[in-house]
Amino acid sequence: MALLTETPVPPPPARDPMLPRIARVREVRADVPEVFTLEVELEEADRAGLAPFTPGQFNMLTVFGVGEVAISFSGDPAEQRRLVHTIRAVGPVSAALTRLRPGDALGLRGPFGAGWPMAEAAGRDVVVLAGGLGLAPLRPALYRLLAERERYGRIVLLYGTRSPEQILFAGELEDWRRRFDIDVAETVDHADPDWRGHVGVVTTMVPRARFDPANCVAFVCGPEVMMRFSVNALRDAGVAESAIYLSMERNMKCAIGFCGHCQFGTVFVCKDGPVFRYDRIGHLLALKEF
């Protein structure tokens, strides 16, 4: 017999990674129907050892007595006290989160995960491709890109959603559209009679966008189907698979690689992701029910 591996017993962790910190809701803002943006702040006593979050990371938010759910940061990484999360009520915990009001307490564990590779984007054009609520985990990246604008080439935001009333962060998009240092294009799948903008799936905007496919990175986030089609569109436009990054989503119960729920073939979405370079997981995306 060969003992397969021998792992020395490490020292006990400084903080139990399953223990939530206490945070307070500071502001709740309604956005598109059923979507709320929560700004929370950790109680002073619970700030010790908290790591700053980077774009693309997420927290596990607890509603005491109800449960815990993974929610991406959706705010500005330059602001580390007010932590912003954009939440759609799809289950009991997320619904309970959207019902919290200023002053209410919630539990917070994080930040977790591998985020958007900002360093990879330096010196290159950046194509940000968002679908639906996928714009939320990408917003921190956009804030960072614009805050250090001179580090990057062209910045293009392509955002697709179901219909005009589902456009997230509409006010912000409007502000960005007016800037000269970022190209913003929005499209909807289903227009209403007042809509004067693009109609069609977000992938149709890739060939229309102006960027250098040979020297760019693409950050893609949205429903998995939309991400698969987006990768095709980017590839058709000449972007290498090693330049495309996706943010994946799977069921999570711990966010620290122990509960096993978020496994996607060889990777754990919580600790190896949620942001993955496409060529690492492309073959897994093609599998059904894997």
Binding site: L4, M18, G91, N251, K288
Partner: protein, 376 residues
């Protein structure tokens, strides 16, 4: 043949070992009979051990039977593994208490129990090592597992009988215990008398051994022990065609065999419960009626459960086929990518305790045999 570090003890010596462990404050657990099976629970004396019993195991079959001798460890492994103590089925994580506007979260303290495990098989030593890698060797450390592991004392047992579903030899995980224990025993029941060959595997083990009544091992004792182990190795119930299983499975993810096994699999999750390396868990939050106190527990979960992979609106793996494939490809293939080894130790429990007798070695063989000869 190295006899210098080895000695022999009799049954009295073994009882002295249990007593010494108890006196040092260990909670001594080992094999005992209950509900017509051999399970792991608290033991205080040799009388608690299944003396003179053995097990008969096959796919979906487990029976106890009497031996014609009085061996104390004359059986293979039962439905439980040591993960029952190291990674318990239910673990309270924390409690939160509201007091007006204030709220405080208090972690449940890590256990202060130190376990002494009696009769840990080679496959189980490997299983513990595999769980160590998962729960201690990554970017995060499970503090409860760490405390239980650090405090544990392991008395390994070299199997004198291979189970009907055992295949540790083809997984290179047994039957001889070579590392990861404090003390290792081999039970010998030949004409020279009922005794145990003993060796220490750690300083703690050496200290404890020194307290026991013993004789230095003779060349004959060592040879007898080797015979026991060789006999066990030669009588494995199953064999895993283990060559490059990882690549075999990953290139056959749409093989029709998955449909075939899915027609038999009940998705009952027994295999994951009895498997000594399965580690998946879930959490449950609860509160009292006033909402003043809430708490979170961790409990075992299984990838065979329908909502294991649930994300907005549905499960990623809604079919039994996809869930069986997930379990088997994780255990034998993707575990390599994640943790650098196989996740299977060849203990055979999943075969024995599957109500329909699905045999993981047979499933691998079926897929392998269906491929045209890849040699040359």
């Amino acid at each position: 043949m190295q006899t210098a570090d080895k000695s022999t003890i009799t049954a009295d010596g073994l009882q002295a070992l249990l007593d010494a462990l108890g006196k040092r404050g260990y909670r001594v657990v080992g094999p005992t009979m209950r509900d017509q099976a051999i399970i792991y629970d608290d033991i205080a004396s040799l009388a608690d051990l299944p003396k003179g019993w053995t097990d008969e195991q096959d796919g979906g079959r487990y029976r106890l039977a009497r031996r014609d001798d009085e061996a104390l460890f004359g059986y293979a492994v039962g439905p439980q593994s040591w993960k029952r103590f190291l990674h318990p089925p239910i673990l309270p994580l924390w409690r939160a208490k509201r007091d007006g506007e204030a709220i405080e979260v208090r972690p449940e303290p890590a256990t202060d129990e130190c376990f002494a495990f009696i009769g840990v098989r080679a496959c189980e030593l490997n299983a513990i090592a595999i769980q160590d890698k998962v729960l201690l060797g990554g970017p995060y450390v499970d503090p409860d597992y760490r405390a239980r592991r650090e405090g544990s004392f392991i008395v390994a047992l070299n199997c004198s009988k291979a189970g009907g579903t055992c295949f540790c030899v083809s997984m290179n995980t047994g039957p001889k215990a070579e590392a990861g224990f404090d003390i290792a025993l081999t039970e010998i029941t030949d004409s020279s008398g009922h005794r145990f060959l003993v060796e220490a595997g750690s300083d703690t083990g050496r200290d404890l051994l020194a307290e026991l009544p013993q004789h230095p091992a003779s060349a004959g004792d060592v040879a007898a022990a080797d015979v026991v182990i060789a006999k066990t190795a030669a009588s494995m119930g199953r064999q895993m065609p283990a060559d490059e299983v990882r690549d075999l499975l990953m290139r056959n993810l749409e093989h029709p065999r998955w449909d075939e096994v899915a027609s038999r699999c009940l998705s009952c999750a027994n295999c994951t419960m009895v498997c000594p390396t399965c580690f998946c868990t879930s959490v449950e939050d609860s509160s009292d009626l006033t909402g003043a106190e809430s708490s979170r527990n961790r409990r075992w979960d299984s990838c065979f459960n329908m909502d294991f992979s649930y994300i907005h609106g549905g499960s990623v793996r809604p079919s039994t086929r996809s869930r069986y494939r997930q379990w088997m490809t994780h255990k034998l293939a993707t575990w390599h990518d994640q943790f650098g080894t196989s996740g299977c130790v060849g203990c055979g429990r999943c075969i024995t305790w599957c109500p329909v007798g699905i045999d993981i070695t047979e499933e691998v063989r079926a897929i392998r045999d269906s491929e045209p000869d890849r040699k040359g």
